[in-house]
């Protein structure tokens, strides 16, 4: 049994408690962030109310990258060790990442309409983000089409590693293609690039989204382990 298997074997019995604690802290953090976003942070002079979308849109985008990064690392782990625990982490990262990528695209569109006058433009950041979403939706479709567990894990691991190559492309697209219209926050050393009250609201919103991500990811991993337990019990029964 590898180290990752031992770690999850120790974590799984405590998952109920971890999920309850995460839910409680996320709920408190959510209330605090909504207060900070709508009542504490000042209204941006040029964009007005639609700018409030930024506080959750940006953390959601960053955590979607993290979801796909988990898939990338876990896919390498699977190809390296052959342990299905890595595969379970990979699919959980991908599914949570796809959910967050969907929310990133939709909240971005809802920001774009009042600011740009259109829900969608083929800006480099938007286009590469949409491609990223397509890649990982394809990853989930691929998994649903292969019956054999080991073969499915192998195909998915290759796609998870190759697919992750789009993440740096999305992130640096605003610098690589300077013709884009997606806004960038200009930061400097000791300067967050925004009003201090806005930065406080942003930090708490980031923590809230991070907690929600952790909760969803861990719950999804638990589901994978339960599914494997059920398959094992069925095979013993046969």
């Amino acid at each position: 049994m590898s180290a990752i298997d031992r770690l999850w074997e120790r974590l799984l019995p405590r998952m109920g408690l971890i999920a309850t604690a995460l839910t409680a802290i996320a709920a408190l953090s959510m209330m605090a962030s909504l207060y900070l976003v709508f009542a504490y942070a000042p209204l941006e002079k040029v964009m007005g109310w639609p700018q409030k979308i930024f506080y959750f849109h940006v953390p959601i985008a960053l955590l979607c990258y993290i979801g796909f990064f988990i898939t990338f690392v876990a896919s390498i782990g699977y190809l390296w060790s052959g342990s299905l625990t890595w595969d379970r982490l990979a699919v959980s990262g991908a599914e949570t990442g796809v959910l967050f990528a969907t929310l990133m695209l939709v909240t971005g569109m809802l920001w774009g309409k009042p600011i740009w006058g259109a829900y969608w433009t083929w800006d480099p950041r938007l286009t590469t983000s949409f491609i990223l979403w397509l890649i990982f939706v394809g990853y989930l479709i691929l998994r649903s089409q292969v019956e054999d567990e080991a073969l499915r894990a192998k195909y998915a691991a290759v796609m998870g590693i190759v697919g992750f190559a789009d993440v740096p492309l999305v992130h640096f697209s605003v610098k690589l293609w300077t013709r884009g219209i997606h806004p960038v926050i200009e930061r400097g050393p000791g300067d967050p690039g925004m009003d201090p009250a806005m930065f406080t609201a942003f930090k708490i919103s980031f923590i809230t989204i991070l907690l929600l991500f952790a909760l969803l990811f861990l719950t999804r991993v638990r589901y994978e382990f339960l599914k494997s337990d059920l398959d094992h019990l069925k095979s013993v029964g046969d």
């Binding site: 959750f56 849109h57 959910l99 939709v106 809802l110 009042p114 339960l226």
Partner: protein
């Protein structure tokens, strides 16, 4: 303001919808496992 509210509604519907779906899938698996163990 309407767009900001719509965006926040989409986020919470997405997150809680997913929690609900995955919770239902887990409950179904747990009941099947309990049945098989019996």
């Amino acid at each position: 303001m309407n767009f900001a509210i719509a965006a926040y509604a989409v986020i919470w519907i997405g997150v809680f919808g997913y929690v609900f779906l995955i919770g239902r899938r887990i409950a179904r698996l747990e009941s099947e496992i309990a049945k098989l163990k019996k």
